[in-house]
Symmetry: C2
Subunit: 345 residues, 2 copies
């Protein structure tokens, strides 16, 4: 126990580097074929992949001016009254490509003669079989139950798609430089991971992220829940103000994931507000002013553009969640009650 997950977390810089090299031409081809063939995008995904879909909402909205909708799979599988996709491009994200509800959304899109793309780590899966285009993560089998490398690789796939759709060479270069930054993030995190000790008896927490890193808050929260059984609840700082902020009391543990970028000043102000309410912060950032507010902090490398920052910002959360599982005496590779492939209808 406690070997597989760390191995896969550490593989991330290398497998993403190799993914970007191997899939660049193919993704470029998809983009040139599909460009101007759709008005908006619908993404179907569950669990960790749904957090990649959350990233896509900001990424494709901000960098490609495309409105992204998240599919509601039960309309397809249970109610059997799916929406008409009109001029949508429909994307499925699933590392295993097995979940019947996600397959059903893509299958319906195909029947409606809409273009479909799947992002998956298994090109022989039902999801791949029902898709016009398959972006193959091809990063080796993920053996630990909690998804890590398939998450960051899915984000990288979306980022590659975004770059080629807009034909933006500068952004593509920044993306290709990212694996080095991921490696630095891993090194920084491993050096400071003993800080996790403090959270041995934490039984709940909130995870805050906004904009591009809304996805990061969701994914860190999911890793914590899966691996440690701690009730970790993700919020954007804006949504948190609309009600849930009432739950904050003295010592309330809040994880803030906020790399530099357009949203940063808002998160900094919000974090000061949380401190004034008595919250105790764990900060993941590259900014000293914010890091100083954390009782515990994980430092991110500087110079990462905000639009790809979720691919690095999640890493300290992955390592923290794993370490916390170990501190609590749990098996981080095979959390009780979870299976690697969850089939939902």
């Amino acid at each position: 126990m406690n070997k597989l997950l760390l191995k896969e977390i550490k593989e991330q810089p290398k497998v993403i580097d190799s993914f970007l090299v191997k899939q660049e031409k193919y993704v470029e081809k998809i983009c040139s074929k599909l460009k101007d063939q759709f008005d908006y995008i619908v993404i179907a995904a569950r669990g960790t992949s749904d957090n990649a879909a959350r990233y896509a909402q900001y990424l494709l909205g901000s960098e490609n001016s495309i409105q992204v909708a998240l599919a509601t799979p039960s309309l397809f599988t249970i109610y059997k009254t799916p929406p008409i996709f009109k001029k949508a491009l429909v994307v499925g994200i699933s590392q295993s490509g097995q979940s019947p509800d996600i397959v059903s959304v893509l299958g319906t899109a195909k029947k409606q003669k809409r273009p479909t793309i799947s992002i998956t780590n298994d090109t022989n899966s039902p999801l791949a079989n029902v898709s016009d285009y398959v972006i193959n993560l091809d990063i080796g089998v993920e053996k630990a139950v909690a998804a890590t490398k398939t998450y960051t690789a899915s984000l990288a796939a979306l980022a590659l798609f975004s770059c080629h759709l807009s034909g933006d060479k500068e952004r593509l270069d920044a993306l290709k430089d990212l694996p080095v930054k991921m490696l630095q993030t891993l090194d920084n995190t491993m050096k400071n991971i003993t800080q996790t000790n403090r959270y041995r008896y934490m039984d709940h927490c909130v995870v805050i992220g906004r904009g591009f890193n809304y996805s990061t808050a969701f994914e860190i929260s999911l890793k914590i829940k899966e691996l440690t059984r701690v009730i970790a609840v993700p919020y954007s700082s804006a949504d948190f103000k609309h009600g849930p902020i009432a739950t904050v009391n003295k010592g309330f543990p809040i994880i803030v994931a906020a790399p530099s970028g357009m949203i940063f000043d808002h998160i900094l102000d919000f974090s000061k507000n949380l401190i004034s309410l008595g919250a105790e912060l764990l900060v993941i950032s590259d900014n000293e002013s914010l890091l100083r507010l954390g009782k515990t902090s994980f430092t991110l490398p500087k110079g990462i553009p905000e639009w790809i920052s979720p691919i690095t910002a999640v890493i300290p959360g992955q390592v923290f969640a794993r370490q916390l599982a170990i501190e609590k005496g749990l098996d981080s590779d095979n959390p009780e009650g979870l299976k690697k492939v969850t089939e939902t209808y």
Copy 2:
């Protein structure tokens, strides 16, 4: 203290009845003007109104075959790189009509010459001013900080819109009959509200709902957080299986909101699974088999079509959250740390 909120909860059948009568013609007019003028809908909303938007995803998807996307307001206000709406209809939901981020989404839609509708309780608000069409809830000022009657009225507004868009007389009649069922729900709930006693020292819980009542899970969870400071986390049963189910241990409190309908059998099976994991259930349903699984249960009236069931199913949750606040010695009308109007950017 502890007067305003209950008064407003109890007003719901009456104000919704009157809303439906007063706004029917106007909503019919909007629908006839906008029909075939859009391919999909984007909804901008925060907090309680965002839960109404979640209902709209299922309602308009299932009953009107329309894909609904939830807007990501920070792309408009902070990043200032909004998506291009192409052939979208853009809807803002906000009882106060004040939140600058929601106003900004509608303002951008207007600049892009897309049709806009707002659903609000204040026709002089900035949101109303920036909208082509304003569906006026007109249900009197909501004085308690936690939104209740503006939530169910927003759902009713969406339901009215859905009926007129499809020109479905039978559904419209069912909607008009709903206030009577709401009154029955209130009576049933008030008679059994002493059950809340048991939860005095509960500090966290999960709330499960799926399909149409995914919105109900979110809204009950939000009321509990706002009013009681309990960490209440909403999930669809499908999403819960993809990871968070690992947090369930002996005695773990889970609220299940599941009226009869297409999704019901899935929730019943899932609830049995939760029991086998040791969870303790509080059930809101009209089905005896499910109600029996609850340590505590609130009975809904029979014969409510699933597509409008969220308007009644939320009521026991509202009353429960208020009563739990009182059991915990809190002021249910003015929860500490919250304001009635939250302005986010």
